[in-house]
């Protein structure tokens, strides 16, 4: 197990989150990276390490060149997907590199252009098993997969429409008080019900947004972070879980299709941090869809298994609730830059000073990052 309190997130930055932007991925990554480096009080020439995301499609030398960096001493690629790559895998690799003395300041950039031709589902259409066996039957696309999980979950644990709606309404309530959020218009139950159905029981409101945007952060040693402008936000716990199911069978053949390896990642993270879920002040949960956020909320230990719909319906994750979740609107209302905007929000909350949405005296925040067949739990602490 890695040691807690050794690395810190010293700088964060992002681009605007837009329904349809004009910039390409490299521009957005560069813009977000420069913002993160400046936020850390560093210069581009201070950056000597990179963790690259294989889905962003640009190697570290392109990033280094674009930001005007100094000599590169370390680079690695996060070999996972979604939030696991950006909020778990990247941090673990950064800690290994910094603790080994290979580099001092690691940049983790990411950007997504969801509106590119082919859209976000093109990746799945290339899976031979999906193309050969699922697509002819009309079983295709993330909302359809997750809708089938939601029906199974409701069969096993029960979930009314009002309870299901409570989760996107909660995240929208946070977005409404977040100036940078992509969707800030109020969402009550009537507005939720007016949202178009995609695949029963998931409406547009139950899905992450379509976003063109980028985010980045800088990782440094805690010792170095003490000399930088912001309060130190350290990685106190970090766990990764894997289930080894290839993507071709992931949404249909797992024994329980709505199980993700969250228990494994959470157990590792809590053990490393030496805390329990009750110690957390807030959480950021990867919300590709209502059902996946409900399940992760349970598996993180924020409520009992099978009770997440009631947990959200009771208002526990709302502003002023006992466990604030997705305090900048998450991916469903804040913006969908997989995982990375959740991590940025966690850092900002722990620094304090987020105005209307600031969670009082926030000191411990968990970030749950889902990546299909893998999952990360990261616990950040204000030191």
């Amino acid at each position: 197990m890695m040691k807690p309190g050794k690395i810190a997130i010293t700088g964060v930055g992002e681009t605007p989150f837009l329904r349809k932007g004009e910039e390409h991925v490299m521009q957005m990554m560069t813009r977000a990276s420069l913002a993160a480096i400046a936020d850390a009080g560093l210069k581009p020439t201070d950056i000597d390490g990179y963790i690259i995301n294989k889905y962003a499609g640009h190697p570290s030398e392109e990033i280094a060149h674009a930001i005007g960096a100094g000599q590169k001493r370390f680079s690695a690629v996060a070999d996972s997907a979604g939030g696991t790559a950006t909020t778990g895998d990247a941090l673990r690799l950064a800690q290994l590199a910094i603790e080994a003395g290979l580099c001092k300041h690691v940049l983790v950039p990411y950007a997504i252009r969801s509106t590119k031709p082919g859209g976000v589902y093109a990746f799945h259409a290339r899976e031979p098993q999906k193309a050969g066996l699922e697509m002819p039957a009309g079983f295709f696309g993330q909302p359809t997969y997750f809708a089938s999980m939601a029906n199974r979950y409701a069969h096993e644990y029960g979930m009314t429409e009002e309870e299901q709606a409570a989760l996107p309404m909660t995240y929208r309530a946070w977005a409404a008080i977040t100036p940078s959020a992509q969707r800030r218009d109020p969402m009550d139950l009537a507005a939720y019900r007016a949202s178009p159905m995609i695949s029963t029981p998931l409406r547009v409101a139950d899905c992450c947004l379509t976003t063109d945007g980028g985010g980045a952060y800088v990782v440094s040693s805690v010792d170095y972070a003490r000399h930088l402008p912001h309060p130190v936000v350290a990685v106190q716990g970090l766990g990764l879980g894997y289930n080894n199911y290839p993507h071709g069978v992931l949404f249909s053949q797992k024994p329980c299709t709505f199980e993700f390896p969250v228990r494994e990642s959470a157990a590792m993270a809590y053990a490393m941090a030496g805390i329990s879920p009750a110690d957390l002040d807030l959480a950021q949960v990867y919300d590709g869809f209502t059902i996946s956020a409900l399940v992760q909320t349970e598996m993180l230990g924020l409520c009992d298994v099978g009770e997440a719909p009631r947990f959200y319906a009771a208002g526990h994750a709302m502003p002023g609730g006992k466990m604030p979740i997705n305090t900048s609107g998450g991916h469903m209302s804040g913006g969908y830059v997989p995982g990375i905007n959740l991590l940025i929000e966690a850092v900002r909350q722990l620094r304090g000073g987020e105005g209307a949405r600031q969670v009082p005296d926030a000191r411990l925040c968990a970030i749950a990052g889902l990546g299909g067949n893998n999952h990360s739990t990261t616990i950040l602490a204000r030191m």
Partner: protein, 137 residues
Amino acid sequence: MGIPNYPVHLEDPLFQGFYDGLDAGELRVTVDAETGEFQWYPPEVVPGRPDARLEWRAVSPLGHAYTFTTVVRSLLPGDHNDEVPYTVILFEPDDAPGVRIAGVLVDDDGVAPACGMRLKFRPVEVGDHKIAGFAPA
């Protein structure tokens, strides 16, 4: 209700046996020829047994819905929105627990789909190909 009409892309012969089965009025899935264990979907490599040979076996036409969803907005490549709504079923045959076959709900006479509902396989012709259909049993 509509029905999806998405052409079967079989660049990989790995899946041909499934469609041969539909033509013969059977649901066929793959098993490890030596151990007899189900290997579904047909993998390129059977875990731990790279030399293993797969063969196709007919399974029971009776089973139940593991889960389902009614697709209202098609996400299939191309424009397929005149084919919605349709209900996709992940069907588990009675004699192959844990094996799930994607197909569509047919002949439902207004019966609401549900997890666990009893179903019977019925192949459905769509355009120039067949897909698996499942009717309430």
